[in-house]
């Protein structure tokens, strides 16, 4: 066979309280290939990659890099061996610029002395810039180096994370669900970057729940089930269906269209709404957006991340002041209401970024269930929280949405990414809202659980729920929506009928094409 593998993992075990995350994992990744890991939520993919990246030590097993056995005590060791990881949840400092974030802790300095020499060093910022610009050009990664990360969308943050890893000289790049919120064009862009990297000898380990993408980019695919590696296949040997069966042992669901349940009653009416980038920055990020969502209707918004979808949602929720326009929920004018009153009026929200906007990571699941719904009698009475009731509610929601967890008292960080997402979907949907704003509702959720969430959405829709759906997954958008809009640079640039719209057509509008006015 080929020479030493870039990465070889043998007999890896990793246990957490109540859970075996990895059991007897064996994985061989050849140099300069894209090797994908697929598997259900909680199968143990992220845990395995954290082991490889030195974030925790395996209970048993060995790691070899380029044929020699290594032991990583920290990510610093892993980086020194050329291993870099972009996490499922980004880890950037919000208030620093892109450049600062990338070079932080790896600044080129003068003089170049060993780490332990306690002498002051000067940060060579122009050198850092030069190298960054070079990297950007080499791999065609587009990002504004001077913007503060706070102002970046999820897609841009990810490019920053990749640059950060490359800047540290990674030869093995681990990407944990990098495409979860990318629209097809961005995915194509990412994939061409990855192919460039592989051509330069970089090895990529890729985790995704989107099997089409996995089949398109991979040289090898390893299936993880129940914490262990089941098999490794070539993309030419399998199709999507077969891969899904290997993963979950059941058939793949489709976001199928069903009979329309749209009623005549308008639940949310957005009229000529505009908003600025911030109090001090009067760039228009939402420009004259108008639409209606009826009870029983799903209105989908397509668009490349960062074209005003997030800001529009913030405006509806009352998190961002509008400069213009009206928003009505039923007959209620929302403009004078605060966030709390709006949510009390019946708005549920599955957010764009679950860690930032929706979870208290250190707190138990049952407290996370309460967040945003603490005024509901389901969780207490009057001024008091009832932990007993909250725990019962949490158990019910966990059952109904099949959240894999050892109990309701574990902290939220102990759940796998997909299970955190399921918990949030459960929280927002069991509250019985009249309008649900669902941003990437199935982000990072495996194919089986995705079907379950879609089913819940359909059922709620049939009962009169109005849904504002924002998704990067065009199949999900077309499959679930009754009406489709495209947003570009803060404006609605196209109205489409999902019955006839194709992903290609959507992609065209998302790239900036304007619909001819009928």
């Amino acid at each position: 066979m080929s020479p030493a593998a870039a990465v070889e993992l043998v007999g890896i075990w990793k246990r957490f309280p109540g859970v075996i995350a990895n059991r007897d994992i064996n994985l061989r990744v050849d140099r300069a290939t894209v090797h994908s890991l697929v598997g259900e939520n909680g199968a143990g993919k992220s845990t395995l990659m954290k082991t490889l990246y030195g974030m925790h030590r395996p209970d048993e097993g060995t790691i070899s890099i380029d044929g020699s056995t290594v032991q990583f005590r920290s990510p610093t060791d892993a980086i020194a061996h050329g291993i870099g990881m972009v996490h499922q949840h980004f880890m950037l400092a919000d208030n620093l610029t892109v450049t600062e974030n990338i070079i932080l802790g790896a600044e080129p300095v003068w003089p170049e002395l060993p780490r332990w020499v306690p002498l002051p060093r000067v940060v060579r910022s122009e050198e850092a810039r030069r190298r960054l610009t070079q990297l950007k050009d080499d791999y065609g990664i587009d990002v504004d180096l001077d913007e503060t990360v706070e102002h970046l969308g999820v897609g841009e943050r990810q490019r920053v994370e990749i640059l950060k890893v490359l800047f540290r000289g990674a030869r093995v790049l681990i990407l944990d669900e990098p495409t979860a919120v990318l629209v097809p064009q961005e995915v194509d862009e990412l994939f061409s970057n990855l192919r460039n990297l592989v051509a330069e000898g970089v090895t990529v380990i890729f985790i995704s729940h989107k099997l089409d993408e996995v089949l398109a980019i991979s040289d090898d695919i390893t299936v993880v089930r129940d914490g262990t590696t089941v098999t490794t296949v070539k993309p030419s040997e399998v199709d999507k269906r077969r891969l899904g069966e290997l993963m979950v042992g059941s058939e793949l669901p489709q976001p199928g269209t069903e009979e329309s349940t749209v009623t005549d009653t308008v639940e949310l009416s957005v009229r000529d709404v505009s908003a600025f980038a911030s109090e001090t920055d009067d760039r228009v990020v939402v420009g004259n957006v108008s639409f209606d969502i009826h009870r029983g209707e799903v209105l989908g918004i397509a668009g490349v991340e960062g074209n005003g979808q997030f800001e529009l949602v913030e405006a509806i929720l009352g998190l961002r002041p509008t400069t213009h326009g009206t928003i009505l929920l039923g007959d209620t004018d929302l403009s004078t209401l605060g966030v709390q009153e709006r949510r009390d009026a019946g708005i549920g929200y599955i957010p764009f970024d679950r860690h930032r906007e929706a979870l208290l990571l250190e707190s138990p699941l049952w407290e996370n269930m309460i967040l945003g719904h603490d005024r509901s009698p389901r969780f207490g009475s009057g001024a008091w929280i009832s932990s007993r009731r909250a725990q019962a509610e949490c158990d019910t929601a966990v059952d109904r949405f099949a959240v894999a967890t050892p109990g309701n008292a574990v902290p939220a960080y102990a759940l796998s990414g997909g299970n955190q997402q399921k918990l949030i979907a459960a929280r927002e949907m069991t509250a019985g809202p009249s309008l649900l704003i669902a941003a990437h509702p199935t982000r990072g959720v495996d194919v089986g659980a995705q079907a379950a969430i879609w089913e819940e959405l359909r059922r709620a829709r049939a009962n009169g729920l109005a849904v504002l759906l924002i998704s990067a997954d065009l199949d999900e958008l077309i499959g679930l929506s009754d009406t489709l809009l495209v947003m570009f640079r803060g404006e609605v640039t196209a109205h489409l009928d999902p019955a006839t719209a194709t992903p290609e057509q959507l992609g065209m509008y998302m790239a900036g094409e304007r619909q001819a006015v009928a």
């Binding site: 859970v19 995350a21 998190l319 709390q340 906007e357 208290l360 707190s363």
Partner: protein
């Protein structure tokens, strides 16, 4: 979900032992460190510790320690309320000083029956503390000024303004009096002592402190407001998205903290001096920060921390008698806070590792049974 999930209700005695041992270890390490510091500065640690040790067997020493612990406890609770949502109220000092003068002004200007009079004074103190804390709260909410900076500045302002008001308005000058004093509060405004043994007292305010401790626990861990407070502290973005108004939370937390801070000086003013005077004990607001840290913001932990500080404070004059500089006490307190922070972090990690190892063992056992 097919990974083995096992519900374990059995108690982890090892971890409980570690939790109990942590404060003792911290105490030992702190003792060692202070001994070293004393030895370096030419003091015999044995002398100092034997003085402290002999105090421990004296009943009056504990009465004094408790008396001193009461305002420290109140002060630490005031600080802890802010800590729970990542607000650093460094201004407890200024807030309680303002409250002391306010109470004297209010208390001397009305005539009321005993219980009512004391109650009025307590309410006035809380109102004054809260009012003084409103300034940094509003500055933070409307101008984005860090509460750390504004409360420190306001401490200085309070000191200056109070000194001026006291000298120009409240102080009664009498011939031959060294410590100027304000008019005395009428007897009806005095808080009686719970314990009084020839000059060693415990103020009735110990009940107020106990009630505060319970209220703090219930409010922070059982009420909706407390949930919102903690949520805002752990993830401000998520809290805001959930409809928790950050401005309102900052203002309420600051006001609450300030109201509690207003009570810090009451054991002195209503229970002991019965007037505003130039020999009031100051600095309790700063000690409160250390006590809150030592007690790790827990209502029970703060009791232990306040007693420790109170005991050391009350022992200071006795060290002086043995010609050991009494400032040693402050050094001990500082070292103790630092060691506790470090030791507790280590204990947390050890417990985490043990939990993991336990999990491995019990899972393996379960698998062995299953297969």
């Amino acid at each position: 979900m097919k990974t083995a999930s096992i519900t374990r209700r059995n108690v982890n005695w090892g971890n409980i032992a570690i939790s109990l041992a942590a404060p003792l270890v911290a105490l030992l390490v702190a003792t060692g460190l202070t001994s070293a510091l004393m030895a370096i500065s030419g003091i015999d640690p044995a002398d100092a510790f034997s003085t402290l040790g002999s105090r421990m067997s004296e009943r009056t020493a504990w009465i004094d320690a408790t008396q001193r612990a009461v305002p420290l406890y109140i002060s630490a609770i005031a600080v802890a309320i802010g800590f729970k949502m990542n607000l650093f109220n460094i201004g407890v000092e200024g807030q309680y000083r303002v409250a002391m003068l306010t109470v004297v002004a209010v208390g001397t200007s009305v005539e009321l029956p005993p219980v009512l009079h004391v109650t009025l004074c307590i309410v006035a103190a809380m109102a004054a503390g809260a009012l003084w804390a409103t300034i940094p709260a509003l500055l933070k909410v409307y101008r984005g000024v860090s509460e750390v900076i504004s409360t420190i500045m306001l401490n200085y302002i309070a000191t200056g303004v109070l000194a001026f008001l006291f000298a120009e308005v409240f102080a009664i000058r009498e011939e031959g009096r060294l410590n100027p004093k304000s008019e005395e509060l009428p007897k009806s405004a005095w808080m009686p002592n719970l314990v009084s043994e020839n000059l060693h007292n415990i103020s009735g305010f110990i009940f107020v402190a106990a009630a505060l401790g319970v209220a703090y626990y219930v409010l922070v861990w059982k009420s909706r407001f407390g949930f919102r407070l903690r949520a805002s502290g752990t993830n401000p973005t998520a809290a805001r998205t959930a409809g928790i108004d950050p401005k309102r939370m900052v203002v309420s937390a600051m006001l609450l903290s300030g109201a509690v801070a207003g009570l810090v000086g009451m054991p002195q003013v209503l229970g002991d001096k019965h007037a505003y005077s130039s020999d009031l004990q100051l600095g309790l607001g700063f000690s409160g920060i250390a006590v809150a840290l030592l007690g790790r913001n827990s209502p029970v932990g703060i009791i232990a921390a306040a007693m420790t500080f109170g005991f050391l404070d009350s022992a200071a004059p006795f060290l002086d008698l043995e010609s050991i500089p009494k400032e040693i006490v402050v050094i001990m307190q500082g070292v103790l806070v630092l060691t506790v922070v470090v030791v507790y972090e280590i204990a947390r990690r050890v417990k985490e590792r043990r939990t993991q190892e336990r999990a491995s063992r019990s899972l393996d056992a379960a698998l062995a049974v299953a297969s």
